[in-house]
Amino acid sequence: MSTIEVKKITKKYGEFLAVKDASLSVKAGEVVCLLGPSGCGKTTTLRMIAGLERATEGDVIIAGKRMNDLPPEKRDIAMVFQFYALYPALNVGQNIAMPLHFEKLSKEESDKRVNKVARILHLTEVLDRMPGQVSEGEKQRIAVARAIVRDPNCFLFDEPLSRLDVELRHSMRGQIKEVLSNLSKATVIVTHDQLEALTMADRIAIMRDGMIEQVGTPHEVFAKPANVFVASFIGTPQMNLMEADLKSFSKGVASVSLAGSPVEMAADPAVSSLRPSKVMIGIRPRAFTAESSAGKSTIRAQAELIEPMGAETLIHARTKSGGDIRVVVPRTQRIKVGEVLHLKADPKQTHFFGENGRAVRA
Amino acid sequence: MTIMTKMKGAATAFSFAALMSVGGASLASAEDVTLTMAVPDWPPTRIMKKFFDEQYKPKSGNTVKLEVDFIPWPDFYTRVNASLTSGEQKYNFIVSDSQWLGAFVEGGYFRKINDLLDADPDFMATFKTIHPNPLNAYSTYPHKTENYYGFPQFPDVLVNFARADIICHDEEQKNFQAKYGKKLPCTGEELDAMTWDDFKNVGEFFQRKKGDMLAGKPAEDDFYGIAFQAGKGYDFSSMQINGFIWQMGGDTWDETKAPQGQAEGVVNSPAAVEALTKYLDLIQYMPPVAKTGTMDIFVSDQLFREGKVAMNIDWIGLGEASLAADSKVKDKLVFGQMPGTMGADGKMIRWSNIGGQPFVLTTWTTESQTKEAVDFVKWWLSNDIQHQFAAGGGQSAVKAVYEDPKYVTYRPWNRAWAPQLEWQKDVWHVPQFFELLTQQQDQFDLAITGKQDAKTTLDNIAKFQQDKLKEVGLIE
């Protein structure tokens, strides 16, 4: 079975803790994205899975076998590098065929396999060229081709699309996803681009400072962020995170002092365990509706900057307490700079976080 | 572009200087005379400089400075040759090997001094007190004519350096007597009386492996009886082989007989072949480095100083080193003349190739410089200074000096000096010296390292000399 299991791995460089107690399991056919800002340890985690780094502590289990002490070549994996790592002295065909040498295939068989993946990835035309003579997108596809030309235990991708321009990135996302879905292997993709993660992954593991903050489907991490970090990291425009005083909670309604106004809003029953205290409330910009007049559950804010985004408009507004608030409204709703807004949040999309930063949910 | 401007300026200056300066920038005033001298860097020249600085008072009343360029021996010829032939005209005095005379006289670099001698009877008188053998070798070109060029700086001959502690040891004396029926030479007089056959016996007798008994003690290292120069570099076998050839009735090409004198038939005469064979026969008793063809005068001296050899034939010029503090044999020495060959008349034949160096004046030396130079040479060859020189480790070819009974007391090898002077000869002062020498050294090296026999060697040398000298008209 093609699976990957990472159990509490830790990586130390001297005193520096690069990865701490990270655990993750990837099922056959599943694509997991490691997502996080630069320096969060996601690449180190991937390299530990590949065997390019040794885990200081913890276990790496691939296809049911503990592989901690095995060098990369014994792990039977395929990897696509950030800079593609194309062998500069070999032409495209030879590059793709490189992993096949180990399997000692006949020339015909090897050619057949190379041609097959070349066809899948539209590389047939460039097989005779040198890596220096092909485009970035082609390089990327060559790197993928080299990975899928054989039948490894699992696939690892290190920032596969980071060097491509926006358009190519978009089309490659689709292609890679399609290719992977036909292979049913455990796959780990490292990326710092949430769009990439959201579109390609079956599940996303969000990392920060060497720790995995949350693992979940794209929907879960978006709709139910486990903590403030995940909430702020996932979603564009960024979620509004506002400090609030929780006054009281009864019958599913919380009374809070938010952005200088007393507001009543529906909340998860678990919020009851918090009161009364300081909390963090997270509301996505699209979860607001601008009411015509002030109400019990509206926040008052004054529009300061209008950014039309096509179908929608992003408004930066200032609350009474001086905080900044982002609101996305449909294009049709015309709002002028200086206009006072009464914002009402959708209770289903309102997240409460305790003082420890964790989401409070039932 | 400052660099560009600078380059342009330099280029202009360059061409200007090139066009304007034709020759003599070295115009010395009457009061200040500087004599520039190129010398090899070693004690005899250092002493000369020291004496000059401490003692020399110019008679003319001028301020005379002797600027000496001490050039390390290994590069001396290269430096001097390049300086002379490039027309650098840097030096007024040059220490020269006797055999370089032809090349540099013909090139117009060495100044003939006959006019100076004729103009100054005093100078002539001093000059004539020099023993004729060194005088001919160091000063005449063509050889043995009355055309004079140089003055002896450090005259030199080959002598026998011997280890008294080894050769005078009772045990060794007894065993040698038993084996050869002759006394193993021990004193200076006994060394003087040695023939090459005796020398060979010493070589054969003292072949000791590490641990064998040597002078009553186990030898600390392999030990050998004899050593002499047999190296490929410069003239480090010719100088020895010439002596063998002359002593045994052979001859080298004689430049004084040119253009009638031949090389072929003379150089490879049976007597010469026999002499070379005898020389080669001795190599086997020498320290193993001889087999590589690098046994030069310094290597044999070093082996001797380190106590690996019983007898070494070498130049007096290297004598001081054997007495130095770091010499392992400094207090165990006895010196004699180089071995000879017993003539049919029962008299010893001792021909040997002269060593040492003259110094000469160059042709671009100005009038005033020449005047001071003559005074300086007269002073240098004066008895007093020559005595001081000898006392400081030098040698003198001035009759009155070396015949003085004090002379032999200066250094232990001086007892061999006067008798040896009588037997000194020299070879080739012709301009082709280096070509002849290189080819001969190459051929001797082949013989010494066992690649060819004496006959072939001398045949090759004779043929080359015949062709070469014919080409330049020195053989008809």
Partner: protein, 353 residues
């Protein structure tokens, strides 16, 4: 490539304007050549100097007027090289067509006679051909040994490991020695009586060991010393190549399960090929000039004379300047052919890649 606007068109070759450097060079060469042939050395030198100044001036004016930065930048170097190297080289090239001995003022044009003499004369030529063969042998042996040793050392130092910096400097030291000192000391190491080699061999065989009493030993001694001194040079260049290989290529190769030999040929070698070529180029040029060690260790004995040795004998000791020059230019021709071959091969490889 940014091209700089050139405000003036290049003048026609024979137009006598101040910035016509081509004309200046042509005139300079012609006048100098005529001067060298006709005038005595001193005067012809002056003329040549003036011509050099003329060319330099033309270059500068040209560069200023036409904003020709290439010429401007290159000019100082060319000027220095011309005066200090190229001019003397041309001079000696000229001399090689004359019968001239530096210690003899007469000079006579003999055309190609010197070349014919050094290559076919029955006195000189056999020695020259012999030395040519020896030189070839030394070039092959020393360069090969340097390349192999340098390469192996570089492999050792390619990885990061503790104390690397301190160990590396030890290996680099031999090339910092002066040839005289290392040559003289190696003659001591090889000495049958005093040397360590003989001592070690003596402990085994019981006899003093004479390394250089035959050609094989002498050549081995020379080659070893030369290679020891200059292998670090090769090592440094190769090492530079090795550390410049991107690490991710080896990582990719490990994951692709590429065997070590294949990794070397497909990843490592392409990166060090250019540097190997550079090392080969410089070391070959130097090996053709091998003289010092042959002189110091064995005085050219045991049939080890090289061409550079002969040239020194002929041109320095015997003052046969023009013959020496002719022999040098024969060598120069060979070196040029060989280095061009190297460069051609290197370029062809590069284009293929």
């Amino acid at each position: 490539m940014t091209t700089t606007a050139q405000f003036l068109p290049a003048p026609p070759l024979f137009s006598p304007v101040a910035h016509n450097w081509k004309l200046a060079i042509l005139a300079g060469l012609v006048v100098s050549a005529v001067a060298i042939v006709l005038f005595p050395a001193k005067l012809s030198l002056g003329v040549a100097g003036a011509m050099a100044a003329l060319i330099a001036a033309a270059f500068t004016v040209n560069a200023y007027r036409r904003r020709y930065y290439g010429g401007l930048l290159v000019a100082p170097a060319i000027a220095v090289l011309f005066v200090m190297n190229i001019f003397p080289l041309l001079w000696s090239l000229g001399l090689s067509f004359f019968a001239y001995q530096s210690n003899n003022q007469s000079i006579r044009f003999v055309g190609l006679n010197n070349y014919i003499k050094v290559l076919t004369n029955d006195i000189a030529a056999p020695a020259n051909w012999d030395a040519l063969i020896n030189t070839g042998m030394f070039v092959v042996f020393t360069v090969a040994l340097q390349m192999i040793t340098g390469f192996l050392l570089a492999m050792l130092f390619a990885k990061q490991f503790p104390l690397r910096k301190y160990l590396l400097i030890l290996v680099l030291t031999p090339m910092m020695l002066s040839v005289v000192a290392s040559g003289v000391f190696f003659s001591y190491y090889y000495d049958p009586t005093f040397g360590i080699l003989s001592y070690v061999m003596g402990e085994i065989t019981g006899n003093q060991f004479i390394l250089m009493d035959n050609k094989l030993g002498a050549v081995a001694g020379i080659v070893f010393t030369d290679a020891w001194m200059w292998a670090p040079f090769v090592m440094l260049l190769v090492l530079a190549g090795l550390v410049s290989v991107p690490k991710y290529l080896y990582e990719a190769a490990a994951i692709d399960r590429v065997s070590k030999p294949r990794q070397f040929w497909t990843i490592t070698f392409p990166y060090i090929r250019g540097l190997l070529m550079l090392a080969l180029l410089f070391r070959t040029i130097e090996a053709f000039k091998l003289y010092d060690l042959v002189y110091i260790l064995i005085r050219g004995g045991q049939d080890t004379k090289t061409i550079a040795y002969l040239i020194t004998e002929i041109a320095n000791e015997q003052n046969k300047t023009s013959e020496g020059a002719a022999l040098s230019y024969v060598i120069l021709f060979m070196v040029i052919v060989l280095t061009n071959l190297y460069l051609y091969l290197a370029n062809r490889r590069n284009k293929g890649a």
